[in-house]
Symmetry: C2
Subunit: 304 residues, 2 copies
Amino acid sequence: MSDLNTQHLAFKQQLFDHKLLFGSGVNGIVGRSSKIVELVAALHGMVDKESVKDGAQKVAFPPVVPRELLRTVGYMNNFPQLSGSIHSFSGDDRQHLALQETVKNGEDWSPHLSQTDVTLTPASCYPLYPTLAGNLPEGGALFDLNCYCFRHEPSNDPARLMSFEIRENVRAGSPEEVQKWRHSWLDRGHNLLESLGLSVVLDTASDPFFGRGGRMMKASQKELELKFELLVDIWGKDNPTACASFNYHQDHFSHLFGIHLADGADAHTACLGFGIDRLVIALLKTHGFDMNAWPASVREKLAL
Amino acid sequence: MSDLNTQHLAFKQQLFDHKLLFGSGVNGIVGRSSKIVELVAALHGMVDKESVKDGAQKVAFPPVVPRELLRTVGYMNNFPQLSGSIHSFSGDDRQHLALQETVKNGEDWSPHLSQTDVTLTPASCYPLYPTLAGNLPEGGALFDLNCYCFRHEPSNDPARLMSFEIRENVRAGSPEEVQKWRHSWLDRGHNLLESLGLSVVLDTASDPFFGRGGRMMKASQKELELKFELLVDIWGKDNPTACASFNYHQDHFSHLFGIHLADGADAHTACLGFGIDRLVIALLKTHGFDMNAWPASVREKLAL
C-alpha cells in the first residue's frame, strides 16, 4: 500500500476515533458530532449569503417523494442502481406473527412488505419542478433548497455517503437567462470553494447512467457540456472528488411538467448543487481537525 | 357536514390554494413555501434558545438508519404498519429491461428490487442511543437533535404527514436525573406552546402499538405514565393534536445498547419531541395566514 493510501486510511479512521463522525455499522450512514453540526451550519450560512444576494426564494421538500415522480423523470431507466423505494407492512395479526419470526431470524423481510407510493429523494431539486407547472413570472425564477438525498452506493469513503445533504439553487427562465446564470456560477462557485482554502478544478462531467444503454447518455451529456463539476483534491490530485455540480437541463423538466415563460414559450431550467457532507470532509482533510487553527481567511469566510 | 368540519376543510384547501404548502399528489408528502421555511426556522430558533440555556449538545443523523437498528429496538414488533424499509435495484442489463417495462406500465416494481441494509428513521433519537454505548460523564448527558422522520400513515390531515421533522432533546443519566428533567419539561413545554398563543392541554398518552398484542403495551405505558403529550386544539377541542411528547424509556435503550452511568450502573433515558410541522399548522390555524398580523407576543417569541 502506498504512503498516500496509508495516510488516507488513517484520516478516515481518525474521523470516527476522534468522534467527529459517528459510525452506524452500515457504510455510508454516519452521524454528526456537535463540531460537524457547527461546520454544516457555517457552510449553509455561506451559501445563504449568496442566495440572499441573488434574491433566491427558499423552499423545502421532505427527503421522500412520490414514486410517480421518479417514473415521470425516468429515474428508474437511468439510475435504478441508486434508487430507494419505500416498502411497508400492511398485513393483519397473523401476517404480523410471520413477519416477526423473519425479523427475529435476521432474514430478508421483503416478502412481508409491500411497495408504498413513495421513494427516497435522489436530488433536492426533483420535487420542485412539478410545483412550477404553469407560467413563470417575467424574468423567470430562482429557488434555494436543501434536502437529504439518497443514493444506494455503499462505500467506506466518508465523502460518498448514501444519505447526504445537497444544497441547491435552481434557475428557471428563458434559455439565455438560464445559460447566463449557470455560466456565471462556474467562476463564482470556483472562487467560493477556493476561498475555503480548497484545491479546486472545474471539469465537464456526466451522471452515472446505468448499464450499456447509459454509455451513450454519458457521452452525449459530456459533448453537450450539460454538466460541470468542481472537483476538490481530498484523496489525491489523481482522484479528485466532485463537491459541486452545475447542470443544464435544457427543456427536459419543463416539457415533463409544463413549465412555461411569461409569454407561454417553453422554459429552460438549470441547477447547481453543493455536496455539504463532501465539503465537510474536504475542509477537515485540508485544514485538520482543530477548527480554531484553520486559516483566518477560511474561518472568516465561514463566520466561525 | 357540521359547520366546523366545513371550516376545517376550507382551511386545509387554502393552505394549498394560497401556496403556503405544495401538494405532491401523495397524501402526507408536502413541500414548504418560503413563508413556511421562515416559520420552521423561527420554531427551531425558539427551541435553540432553550437548548443553549440547558447546555445541550447538538448532534445530527440522516433520515435513514441501519435496518439492524429497527430490529434491535423491536420496531417491527411494535409499529410494523408505520415502518419504511428501503429497497433498491441490483440487477444486470437484462433485468433492467424487465424493470423498465414494469415501471412503464405503472405496475408494482417490488419483484425487481431487493431489500437494502437501511430503513427510514422513525424517530430522531433512535440513532443516538447506539453511539452512547459505554459510560456517561458524571451527571449524565443532554442532546439536541432534529431529523425528518417517516411514518407510513397516509392522511389528508396536513398535521399528520408521512415525512415530518421531530426536534428532540434526549436526557441520559441516573433515574433521578432523568425523571427530574422530564418532569420539569412538562410545565416548561406547556408554557412554551402557550406563549405561542396556542390552546394546550397536557395528558398521558400511549404509542400506536400494532394489533391485538399492542393493546396491553398501550395500557401498561399509560398506567406507568411513561408518555405525556401536549395536545393542541387545531381541529376542535374534542379532537386535539399531539404537538409535543415527553417519553421516559427507563432502562430500555440502556439495556439494548449498554449505556452506563459514570459509576457503571445502568443509565436511564428520556426524550422530548416537538412536532415542527404540526406546530406550523397549529399556528396558521390559530393566528391566520398573515404572519405580520399575528399577536405581538407570538411574533416576539418566534423572533419574527
